[in-house]
């Protein structure tokens, strides 16, 4: 059982060298495309698990009392939900999944710079995921201290689950660092001769920026978690106030990784959406150069804003002031990107297919999450809503409304390339409608709840919050239902879908200039040199109307 019909493929491309058979997806394959699909499928399985955990949370919160699960179980569930969704779904899928599949195409290479390291990076993920989830079955002792694992909470909750959680996150961090090294080497060193840095598709820049963040910040988390595990196992006192330690140091080190982690999750999404919009709007990407500089500005600023998560941690006023200003500055490059996307759409010949619907919804959701983010950067406001559902709402608008919407857009956009078959448009639109309505119904009310003081991470709440919580839970139910048309669509069209052909969208980026699915070494002939990946809407040979696309003489 292959995703595409082998005989048809063989007909359209005689001598196609792609090894057939589904077993290669379970093998230590060195092919970047196989590894990309492995990341995507593995990530999606964890998305379903994390979604089920979210279902438990929303069911519990449908009523004010802890009557569906116990308070301890609720803590375990919310810890696992956060960890699974961040470390096993978002980060691997937008970085490892689409990154592995697309980056070698975009730089005109036959594979990643270090294929074996690439496979190792992927194969660290399933064991880490199994380890994490199996900790739930440790004698009532999965980690209960949230995905932040703040001490002293993480020192007082059951130790076994917390240690397993740390081990799992360390493995995933290692995987992430290996991936980051690979992307940096591939983008900087493996570019096809003749392809300049400023001619790369935008996703390359996004992945370069993301990988720099990964390499600089993930090791700090690793060191921090090693110290935390020492505190638990060897009873040292790094973060244990009873032994003279300092909990705030943990928070600083943790957020030094975990704030950039937000950009590790959302920058690749920026890149992917910058690929999708020009294709379906038939216009060049607006403001290529400003896009590049704003990505790099986000990388630099992203490393110096972490303490805005700690405004209520006894942070001194000068530090609050610095981090408020630095955080507000991030709105500038982000805003530049936002307006560039709008300008890309402006006057375009827009095809509102499923990919485009999700991409446009991303812009809407993201600007909402971005505005609440700027609000949260202001100390007086943050002190009011800190640790309330306002933060939960904001976060999910960025990570679900932002990144996950882009993951779905990318799936509809690149599925024809992955499999050679089109996803069904009707099911796709149904999926979009359910997701968009469900998402907003679920997370918009949480802003009101937070403003009115409903604390996060607690299984029970004041009965006056019941109605809005029930609205939110209905939204979550819709989101759960929205997965059904997606699953049906992906599975059915893999066998019976309309054959896509090499380039169903008439796109110009290099991954479309080969067969669908592509042969093992990406192109049977020489890798094409695409110096103008967004040259839509002007006649070939003429100067492009947009100044954003540079050309080689």
């Amino acid at each position: 059982m292959t995703l595409a019909n082998p005989s048809e493929l063989a007909q359209s491309h005689p001598g196609n060298l792609q090894p057939q058979g589904w077993l290669r997806y379970f093998s230590f394959s060195l092919d970047h495309k196989v590894i990309g699909i492995q990341y995507l499928v593995c990530g999606f399985i964890f998305y379903l698990i994390g979604g089920a955990l979210a279902g438990v949370i929303r069911t519990e919160l449908a009523s004010p009392m802890a009557d569906f699960v116990s308070r301890e179980t609720y803590n375990e569930v919310l810890t696992l939900h956060g960890t699974v969704m961040i470390f096993l779904w978002i980060v691997p899928v937008v970085n490892g999944g689409f990154g592995n599949y697309l980056i070698p195409f975009y730089v005109g290479a036959r594979d990643m710079a270090f294929p074996r390291l690439n496979a190792v990076a992927f194969w660290l993920i399933p064991p880490a995921g199994i380890l994490l989830i199996s900790s739930y079955f440790l004698a009532g002792a999965a980690a209960q201290s949230g995905w932040t694992a703040y001490p002293p909470l993480s020192l007082t909750t059951p130790a076994a689950g917390q240690v397993v959680w740390i081990l799992s996150v360390l493995l995933l961090g290692g995987s992430s660092i290996f991936g980051g090294i690979n992307f940096i080497a591939t983008i900087l060193k493996l570019r096809r001769p003749g392809l300049g840095l400023m001619q790369m598709p935008m996703y390359c820049w996004a992945m370069l920026g993301t990988s720099i963040l990964v390499v600089l910040s993930t090791p700090v988390l690793a060191g921090t978690l090693i110290m935390l595990s020492f505190d638990i196992i060897a009873h040292t006192g790094f973060f244990n106030p009873a032994l003279g330690g300092n909990v705030v140091v943990y928070q600083h080190l943790f957020w030094f990784y975990s704030h950039p982690a937000v950009y590790i999750m959302v920058l690749p999404a920026f890149g992917l959406v910058s690929e999708i919009l020009p294709v379906h709007a038939r216009k060049p990407l607006f403001g290529y150069v400003t896009m590049v500089y704003s990505i790099m500005a986000i990388v630099v600023l992203g490393l110096i804003v972490w303490a805005h998560h700690m405004f209520t941690s006894g942070t001194p006023p000068w530090m609050r002031l610095f981090f408020t200003i630095a955080t507000s500055f991030i709105a500038v490059p982000t805003g530049i990107k936002f307006f560039n996307w709008l300008a890309t759409l402006w006057g375009g010949k827009i095809a509102l297919n499923s990919a485009m619907l999700f991409a446009c919804a991303f812009i809407v959701n993201f600007v909402f999450g971005g505005i609440t983010g700027v609000a949260l950067a202001q100390v007086p406001f943050d002190i009011h809503v800190h640790d309330t559902y306002f933060v939960v709402g904001h976060f999910h608008y960025i990570v679900y409304g932002g990144t996950v919407f882009v993951v779905f857009a990318s799936l509809y956009h690149w599925y024809p390339k992955f499999t050679g078959r089109m996803l069904n448009e009707d099911l796709g639109r149904l999926h979009f409608l359910l997701t968009f309505i469900g998402f907003n119904l679920c997370f918009a009310p949480q802003h009101w709840l937070g403003l009115n003081g409903m604390p996060r991470r607690v299984a029970e709440y004041d009965p006056s919050f019941t109605t809005l919580n029930q609205v939110s839970s209905v939204g979550a139910l819709l989101m759960a239902i929205s997965t059904i048309p997606l699953l049906i669509n992906v599975v059915l069209t893999a066998f019976k879908g309309e054959v896509a052909g090499d380039n169903p969208w008439n796109a110009l980026t290099p991954e479309w200039l080969t067969s669908s699915p592509p042969p093992v070494e990406n192109w049977l002939g020489e890798a094409p040199l695409v110096t103008e990946p967004y040259g839509y809407g002007h006649t070939p040979g003429k100067e492009p109307s947009s100044p954003s696309v540079k050309q080689v003489a």
Partner: protein
């Protein structure tokens, strides 16, 4: 000139290629060879940046603890300096000897390179032994106080790096014996070990300054 803005040209998927080339058993039927440089050292350097950030995290934690958290009565930050200073000299010298080994190897003097490698390896082992002596003579244990914990975490993490480095040097030394594994033109293993060893030494110098001298 745009090379591929015309979609009519986009059908470069290989179907135009002669059959002989497509059915070739060569797994790399097209180009690859000349354009693909060796960037393993680049990858290692990137990894060492990441590794350095782990140390940076530990250093930042130590300095913050030191600035903010007072030690309990009767304990102090004072450390015996003689042995660590000797250790610093050992590591700096070992960096120089490794550099000599690299130079000899590039000049195709493999026997000389092997001798320098053996000296480097010996210095690494001497460092580890001396570190052990220091550990056993210290008046505090891992969990005694915050300074003790941080001291052992930092020096232990660095010692782990030295141990790995010594193993790498031993492997490279053995490789200079077998024919063809290390040559004047092809000696990635040696260069990688050298880069790593310089990194470990550099970290020690910073560690010595922050932990012992400060």
């Amino acid at each position: 000139m745009t090379i591929l803005s015309n979609l009519a040209d986009s059908n470069l998927t290989g179907s135009d290629l002669p059959d002989s080339e497509l059915t070739s058993t060569n797994p790399h039927p097209t180009d690859h060879a000349p354009s693909h440089g060796d960037f393993r050292l680049f990858g290692l350097a990137t990894f060492l940046v990441a590794d350095g950030m782990t140390f940076a995290g530990f250093f930042a934690a130590y300095l913050t603890f030191r600035a903010v958290n007072p030690l309990p009565e009767g304990s102090s930050y004072e450390l015996e300096l003689l042995l660590p200073t000797i250790n610093t000299v050992i590591l700096v010298v070992s960096s120089l000897t490794f550099h000599q080994a690299g130079k000899a190897c590039r000049a195709n003097q493999l026997a000389k390179a092997r001798s320098w490698l053996m000296v480097t390896c010996g210095l690494g082992v001497a460092f580890l032994a001396s570190q052990m002596v220091e550990y056993f003579s210290l008046p505090f244990g891992l969990t005694d106080n915050l300074f003790a914990s941080t001291f052992y975490a930092l020096t232990g993490f660095h010692g782990l790096h030295v141990t790995l480095g010594v193993i790498c040097i031993a492997i490279v030394t053995l490789q200079t014996r077998s024919n063809g594994r290390i040559t004047a033109t092809d000696h990635f293993g040696l260069e990688a070990a050298e880069l790593y060893w310089h990194f470990v030494d550099g970290i020690w110098v910073v560690l010595y300054g922050i932990l012992y001298l400060l």
